[in-house]
Symmetry: C2
Subunit: 355 residues, 2 copies
Amino acid sequence: MKKHNFSAGPCILPQSVLQKAAEAVLDFNNLNLSLIEISHRSKYFVEVMEHARNLALEHLGLQDKGYKALFLQGGASLEFLMVAYNLLEKKAAYLNTGTWSDKAIKEAKLFGEVVEVATSKSDNFNFIPKNFQIPKDADYFHCTSNNTIFGTQIHEFPESEIPMVCDMSSDIFSRQLDFSKFSLIYAGAQKNMGPAGTTLVVIKEDILGKVSRAIPSMLNYKVHIYKDSMFNTPAVFSVYVSMLTLEWLKDLGGISAIEKVNNQKAELLYNEIDRNPLFEGFVANKEDRSKMNATFNLKNDELKATFHNQLKQAGINGLNGHRSVGGYRASMYNALPLESVQVLVDVMQTVERGA
Amino acid sequence: MKKHNFSAGPCILPQSVLQKAAEAVLDFNNLNLSLIEISHRSKYFVEVMEHARNLALEHLGLQDKGYKALFLQGGASLEFLMVAYNLLEKKAAYLNTGTWSDKAIKEAKLFGEVVEVATSKSDNFNFIPKNFQIPKDADYFHCTSNNTIFGTQIHEFPESEIPMVCDMSSDIFSRQLDFSKFSLIYAGAQKNMGPAGTTLVVIKEDILGKVSRAIPSMLNYKVHIYKDSMFNTPAVFSVYVSMLTLEWLKDLGGISAIEKVNNQKAELLYNEIDRNPLFEGFVANKEDRSKMNATFNLKNDELKATFHNQLKQAGINGLNGHRSVGGYRASMYNALPLESVQVLVDVMQTVERGA
C-alpha cells in the first residue's frame, strides 16, 4: 500500500505519472529503447521538450505574451545567481521571507547593490511583511511566493513598476494568479512538477540584454532561449516526467481545478490545527499561512511518542518539520489526495481522544 | 527486441540497470514510495549519494589520496566555466582537440588569459596534437580525453608540472589510466555512467582556494565538498542510476575488465573499416582513433540507401555522424555488447557483397 506522503520535496507525484515514467525507463514510445538511452536531439525527445515548454506556458496563461519557458538544471539555487548575473546592473530589491529568499539575496550581493525592502527574519520568518516600498530605480524586484520551511505564502503580490521576479519553487501550478504580473518565474521541479534535476524558468524576453557584464553561456538566459532550452544535454528523465505531470494537471482541469482541491486540503488541516487543543500553528498571522506547507507543533512533548506511533501505523510519511522550525510540517502539494489529509486529521483526533 | 544502440549520448545503459531503475521509480527499497518521491535528506538517499561517490573514487583508484567525488548538475558545459571560476587566477593552458575543448576555451576566456598550447582545428580536428609545451606559470592545463564528435582520443597524456584538468565525459571508466596524474576530472553522466542530468567531478582538494575572486555558492567546488555534494537538491534519479551503473561495472570486474571488452569491440570495428573497400575512417592518424566513438564514411553515396536499409533491418540505432563530420559514428560505450559491433560488421560485409 502506498504511503500518505507529506514530504516537503522531493515529494509525492501522481501514481499514473510514476507508472508511465517507469514504463518509459524500460521502453519509450515502443522504440525498443529506454527513454534514458536515446539522443536528446532525436525527434522523440525534442517533442517531449517542446510539449513540456508549451504546457508550462499554457497552464500559466502566458502563451503569445512574449514569454519563453525553459527547462534548465541546477535548481532554484542556480537561479539565485543567474537572475542576478542576467538582470542586476546596479541595484536590485529583494523581499526576505525565509531561508530561500535569504540565500537568493546572498548570491545577488556578489553582482551589485541589494536593497532588502522588508524582512521577517527577526521573527524566524513567521509572517509575510506587507506595505513595503519597492524602489523604482532598482533593476528588478525579487520575492519568494511560498516558504516551504516556515509555512508562509504570499497571498497578495505587490504592484511593481519594475520587473517582478519570483521563486515559485514550492507553489507553482497550485493556484491561479495573474502570472503576467511577473517578468521572470522560476521553480525547481521537485514539488508540484516532477523529479529533482530540472528547473522551470519562464521569462519575458524583453527584460534581457540590459546588463553590461559578459555572461558565461550556461548562465545566459538568452543562450538557452536561442537554443530552445537545448544548449546542452538536458536532464531528459526529469523533463519527461515534468511533461507527464503537466499533462496530468491538464486532464484534471488545470490550475483552477487543482486549486479547489488544494483549498479543501488546507482548510481541513488548518481547521483541525486550530480546533484541536493539542496542536498549535507556527505562523503568526493566519492570513499568511501556506496552502502547500502547514507547520505546526504538538504542545505536549509527552504525547510525541504516541503521535509518532499513530502516524507510522497510518502509513504517513515525511511529516517532520525542518530543523529551523521544529515540530511538524505537512506538505500538501498538488498530487497529495484529500484522503491523505483526512488520514492525518484522523490521527490528530485519535491522539486527542487518548490524551 | 532491444535495438543495437550506437547512440553517441545519451546512450546505451546496461539492461539490468534499466530494470532496477524502473522498479525504483515505482517502489524504492520496499518503502512503498517511489525513489523520486522521497526526501534527498532521508537516510535512504544519503546512502545512495555516498555509495555513488565512493564507487567513483574506488573505480579510479583515488580513495585516500586527497580527492573528493561530487555529483553536480549542469553537465560538462557548466564545468567549463566552473573550472575557470575556481582555478583561473591569471592564465590557463588549454589543448584544443575538438568542439568541446573549443567551448571550454571560450568560457575560460571570460576569467583570464588562455594559452592554446596546440590545436587541430584547421584540420577539422582529425588528429590529436602532440609535443606541445605546457607553460609552467599557468594555473592549470586543460584537455579533453575523448572527442565524441570527431572520434579521436588521447592515448598518451602529457607530463604536466601544473594541475591537469580533464574533461572525460565520453570515456571515463572505459580504460585504465593513472588517474592520480589529474587534479580535476569531470564527466557528464550520459555516456558511460548513467542518465543525463548529473555530472561527476573528481577533484584534488589542495588545488582549491587559490583564486581571489568571489565565487557564487553553486559554482564553488569548496561549497559542494563541504556539503557532501548535497548543497542543494541533487538530480536524485540520475545519481541513483549512476550508482547502479558503477555497481554493475564493479560486478563485471571494474575498469580493467571492461577495457578488455572495449578493446575487442574497437579492434573488430576498425579492422572492418580498414579492410572493407566501401568504407574509410575519418581520423587521420590511426594512433589517435577513439575506442569509444569510431567515425567513418561510406565512400560511394549510391550505396547509402542500401546501407541504411540494412542497418534498420538489423535493429541498429544511432549511427548517424555528427553534422560537423558527416558520415557515420559508432559509439561503443561500456554497456554496448560485443555482439552489437558484430551485427554492425555483418551489415557492412553484407553491403560489400551486394555492391
